[in-house]
Each structure stands twice: as structure tokens, then as C-alpha cells.
Symmetry: C2
Subunit: 385 residues, 2 copies
């Protein structure tokens, strides 16, 4: 096991009707800004529930945070807060709204050019407004971590940042809120959470038995209950298990003391920035091909993954690994997610631009051993044509 | 899954040489009281490392916190702090030292009779001194939770309490520190952690798949690496896995959203209070018999436990459950821990006194369904004669 530091102070309120309790979690008398996305929280009634729970607080709103939240949009919210200060931000939405709110919370109190928050990967953040979340879409884990990814549309750049100051104070996880999600978003969430786990698990062994088994527990749960969520829309237990899996997949726990990869994410970000493909779908495009190309480097963990997740115990090592990778892609497809660039209208000749963008963003040594160079990325993407 | 609230703000510094970093985790200029037990931290050199790391801080000491820390001893420390105030307490030891330090941290700032902290199970605690831990014995999980158990020798009472104000600010988990532990303490720690997991896992199913699999991951790790720790004293990976398993077994995570039992612990506490048997050994006495008596109520989870932990898939349900319970006891015995009252010189005629003490402490409705009455406890203990 590698040395690690773990701390995660976010308070989780999990279950039915927990939104009703949030007035006890926000300091009395706070001016609260509610941030959200395209407005589905109005039609589903979630916004009304939140406002009812916060009666007595001075409330304001900022809506329209888009998927892959843009620097341009978020800076409008920062200007709104500077004109009309607030004490607390409550993000009501999925990973995009929460990620965007993290940027807003930091940028509002940032003294220099807020773009530096991204170019410094968050290291220049010295303070942030307190914020909390009402999660509506289980997927990114942003509700219980301190990281975020922001897109600059003008630059076609999608960049990650984080800071220990950016843990939500609390997050409400009510599985019933997810009943109204479209299938495509459920599928995206399951695949996103799945790949968050593999980024921290499919590397090389360091005999971290607890972390391995926790990761495997999340993968097995996503595989079991992901497809059920598409068939049985209002199954509370299924939605609970998916919601908690997605949070646990990226709250720092399973990756503590283990090597981490994240190349699939970095490559995927460029595909989203250039082609507008949903984040989770870019991961589904990249991961199976990346595993094929990195078969040798990831051999031991791929064999363990094949056996413990897919029950593969027969055949040569090579055959077992190939089958495990095939089953991974098949699982994504069973969730209705295409795993080829061509499924999204992206052509072989587009690969060079994707690789070029990675280079421009300094992403030239990716993976758990920092040896996924632009040449290896090209090889990976060619397998996904 | 049941509704739950989870928050655990303790910062974990895990790995080799992390003691060196603690000066960055305690506010500069703090007066620090170091608490410890019988003094083994002097002979092992751990106290010297701690003092070296804290050069520049004003240090004082309170040693002699015994196993099953007593109200009487801890109140002496409270008096010492009242005479010579400190800003921060650093517990260097195992669960007893850490539990005792939690009581000290709360009692020092308590305005009424400190015994009320125990009779109110901690609910009357309004403030506490900040404290942190250097863990030397992986077992109780106290280094990453907000609970403690204190013994009143005069009353032969061993009582639990807790408060959200009693999470350690940070805990250092250095597996190398455990190399010098005697076998008996390693065994106790493994059994203690094992039973912490079963208290939160062997109840009735609520389809909490993540929690179940995390619990199973901890049990499998303890079963795999527990015996190895007795054979191979300085195996860093084994010690790492045991240390992290013991912490994760009782930091609130695996029990969030699941029913919890804890009857084994409550019965065990009375055996320790009356007969001085090591805490973990009392658990080993009680658990197998409790599972036998509660076979029907715990049927589904016992079958799952048998299959996923012990690979038992053949035989009638009854046979599979019996075998799973037998393997549990055999595992404890393989760690050198006796599972019968007679192994500790306790006789059948002592059972009535144990049951009487439970009644005196109001423990008359135990277990996940609050239906383990004194009569059921008697039945359980008779199976352990």
C-alpha cells in the first residue's frame, strides 16, 4: 500500500425526504444563492421543495449552468454575487452544476484573474464561499469531493482543478429525486462511476486489499443494478445503490494508497471539448481501447478484475484479459452507450486534433506510470475508430 | 437501504514516517498534552519520535491510561489539565488510550458532574478540547470515530458514549509502529475489527449492496492477513491491510444505511467489567453463540456470509449456516483466541451475574430488532460455557 492522506469532511444526508432538513445545516440568517442547470428542477418540483425547506432564508438564484459548465457562464454568476453578495451557495443538480458551483465559490473570493484557478489546477485558491449540494444525478461524485472540471468554450479546453477548500459542507442524496431522469442520463451516470473506479483500480498491484475489494464492490453493484435502473424506473433500492456507488466511486477513499491512472478521463475531456460528446460516453470510447493497449502494464490487475468481477477463470492469461475487456465494453453497450468514435460521428482523421489538444494542455505523460505519451494516445484512439 | 447521515472529518495520515509531519497538523504555539498507556511507547521509541516531531511545542505528559480505561484514572488527567491548561491533546496508543483521551477532552470542559457524560451516552457534551491520535494498535477504530467506552471500576460498569465533537482532528496510522506488538494484541485487534464488521453486517438484508460488499471486503482481508501477521512479524503489506481494515471497520461507513446489532459488544462489556477478560476475547466468546441463537432472525445474511466469506454453497440452509458459524469460531481459535467462557475460567454459575449487570445498565432490549432480552442473553451465554 502506498502512503496516503485522506480527509473528507462532507456531511451526507442520504434517503427519502432529507431535503426537508437542510434548514438545520445552513447557518441561520444566511443569504443563500441557489445554482442550477437547465431548469428541470422546476418541472420536477425539486426547486419548490428546496425553497420550502429554506423558508425564512434570503434566497437568490442563478440558473442556466450547462453540461460541461463553461467559464463564460460561471463568470456571469461570479459577477452577480459581486453585485449582490451571498453567504452560502446551494447547488441543486448533477456534476456540472456542482462543478460549476465549486468554481463560483472559489472565483468569487479570488483576487487575481480567475482563469488562474484553472491554469494552477486549483493550487492558487486561498479561500472559497461555503456551499452545499442537492444531488439530482448520480454520476460524477462531485457531491463528496473537492475537484471539478470546467470548460473554456473559446479555447476548446476542458480543465480539472481542485482544492481542500472545495468540499461541499453537506450533500443531500435522495434516490427518489432520480426517478425522473431520462435513460440517457442514468446510463451516463453508471458508466461515469464505473470508469471512476477503474481509474483507481486497474493499474498495478500494491497489495491494497481493502481498496481493491471496495473498488470491486462498487463495480459489481453498478453492473448488477445499472441495467435494472433502465427497466424499473421507480425501484428505490436500485436507485439507492447506484447513487451511493457513484458517490463512493470518487470521494477519495478507494484511491487512497493505490496508484491512479486517469488517462481515460484526460483523453475523454479533449473529445468532449472538441466534439461535444457526453463525458461518460467519451470514457466508454477510450477505456476498452486503453486497456487493450496497456494489457501488459496492467496485467495482474486485469486478471484479478476478470476473475472477481466477471468470473473469468479459464483460458490463457491473454484470453482472460481479452474477455474481461470485451465484457467491459459489452456492459457499456448494454447501458445503451456506444464505445466507438464512429458512434458519435468522429472520424479517424479527427484523432490527430484530439492528440494535438492533449499536447497543448500539457497532457503528455499520462497514466499511473506517466508513460502514456501522445503516441500511445494515438494508438488507443485508433483502436476506437 | 435505510436513510442515513454520514460525516467523518478525521484526517488520516497513513504510512511510513508520517509521525514526522504532525507539527504541521497542530496549530503553532499550542500547549500539547501527550497521553499514553503503560509506557511501551517509551521502549519502542515512538514517544521519542513524537517529541522530536513536536520540538518547539510546549509539551506535557499523562501516562498510565490502562486497558479498559477507568473513570478514576481519567479524572486524574482532567485534574492535571485544570491545574495546568493545554490547548491540544495527542493520544499515543491503542483504543484504550484514545477512548480515554476522548473522555478527557470532553470532561475537561464539562460544567456538571463528568459522570453524566457516561450516563447520558455523551448527549450532554457541548464542547471538547481538540485532540489527535498516533495509533499504535489497530483494533478498535477509535482513531477515526467519535465514540468511546469507559470503565468505572467501583461500579464494575463499562459504558459507551459518543459525540460528533469527539472525532480526532487527525490520526497517524504507521503500520511499522505495530511490528513490536505482542501476538496477543495483534490477535485481539483482528478479532475486535472482525466483530465490529459483523455487528453492522450480520443482521437482516436491506439491499445495501455497497455496504455489504465493503463489509465483506474487510472480513476477507482480516481472514487472509490476520494469521499472516502472527507468522511474519515485519510484513509491511500485511500490517498495512490490517491497520486500514480495523479503521474502516468502525468509522461509520459500512454501517451507514444498514441495521446494526451490537449485542455481542454489550454482553462482552459486562464480561470484561466483571472478569477482566480482554475486550476482543469477550467478543469471541459471545459472537458464535449469539449467531447460533439468532439463526432464524439472521438467516438471509448468514447464508450470504457463508457463501461470500467462506465459499459455502452446498448443503441445506441450516447446514450452511452452522458451517459458517463454525468457521467463524475456528478463525478466532486460529488467531489463538479461546471462544468459551471456560477458556477464561468463567463458570456456568457466573452467567446470572453477567445477565444481572446488563439489566442494571438498562441493556434489556439488544440487537438489530431490540428483541435480545436478558433471557436470550442467558441462552447465548449457556452455549458458550
Amino acid at each position: 500500500m502506498l502512503n496516503f492522506t485522506f480527509r473528507n469532511p462532507t456531511k451526507i444526508l442520504f434517503g427519502k425526504n432529507r431535503i426537508e432538513e437542510i434548514n438545520k445545516e445552513i447557518p441561520a440568517g444566511s443569504k443563500v444563492l441557489i445554482t442550477y442547470g437547465g431548469g428541470s428542477i422546476k418541472s420536477t418540483g425539486t426547486l419548490a421543495k428546496v425553497k420550502k425547506a429554506l423558508s425564512g432564508f434570503e434566497l437568490s438564484e442563478f440558473g442556466g449552468i450547462e453540461p460541461n459548465p463553461s467559464y463564460e457562464t460561471l463568470m456571469k454568476c461570479v459577477e452577480q454575487i459581486k453585485a449582490t453578495p451571498v453567504d452560502f451557495i446551494l447547488a441543486v443538480g448533477g456534476g456540472s452544476v456542482i462543478d460549476g458551483t465549486k468554481f463560483i465559490a472559489a472565483a468569487t473570493l479570488y483576487s487575481g484573474d480567475p482563469w488562474e484557478i484553472l491554469t494552477s489546477f486549483g493550487s492558487k485558491i486561498k479561500e472559497a464561499l461555503p456551499f452545499a449540494t442537492i444531488l439530482t444525478l448520480p454520476a460524477t461524485g462531485s457531491e463528496m469531493n473537492s475537484g471539478a472540471v470546467i470548460t473554456n468554450r473559446a479555447l476548446h479546453a476542458k480543465l480539472p482543478f481542485g482544492s481542500p477548500l472545495l468540499y461541499p459542507v453537506f450533500s443531500v442524496l435522495d434516490p427518489e429525486v432520480t426517478y425522473t431522469l431520462p435513460d440517457s442520463q442514468i446510463s451516463n451516470g453508471v458508466v461515469d462511476a464505473f470508469v471512476h473506479v477503474t481509474e483507481q483500480y486497474l493499474t498495478y498491484p500494491v497489495d491494497a486489499k481493502v481498496q481493491d475489494r471496495f473498488a470491486e464492490g462498487l463495480l459489481l453493484t453498478l453492473i448488477e443494478d445499472g441495467p435494472k435502473a433502465l427497466l424499473d424506473r421507480e425501484n428505490y433500492e436500485v436507485r439507492s445503490n447506484l447513487m451511493w456507488s457513484a458517490t463512493m466511486a470518487l470521494n477519495g477513499l478507494i484511491g487512497s494508497g493505490t496508484p491512479q491512472d486517469w488517462a481515460t478521463h484526460m483523453i475523454g475531456h479533449e473529445i468532449t471539448a472538441l466534439h461535444g460528446v457526453d463525458h461518460a460516453r467519451t470514457l466508454a470510447i477510450v477505456l476498452p481501447s486503453l486497456l487493450k493497449v496497456r494489457k501488459l502494464e496492467k496485467k495482474e490487475k486485469l486478471l484479478q478484475y476478470g476473475e472477481r468481477i466477471w468470473g473469468i477463470t479459464e483460458g490463457s492469461e491473454d484470453e482472460r484479459i481479452d474477455l474481461a475487456i470485451k465484457k467491459t465494453g459489452d456492459f457499456f453497450k448494454s447501458m445503451g452507450i456506444g464505445i466507438k468514435l464512429s458512434d458519435y460521428g468522429i472520424l479517424a482523421e479527427d484523432i490527430q486534433t484530439i492528440v494535438g489538444q492533449l499536447k497543448d494542455h500539457g497532457m503528455v505523460k499520462l497514466g499511473e506510470k506517466k508513460d502514456i505519451t501522445p503516441e500511445v494516445v494515438e494508438q488507443i484512439l485508433k483502436l476506437s475508430v
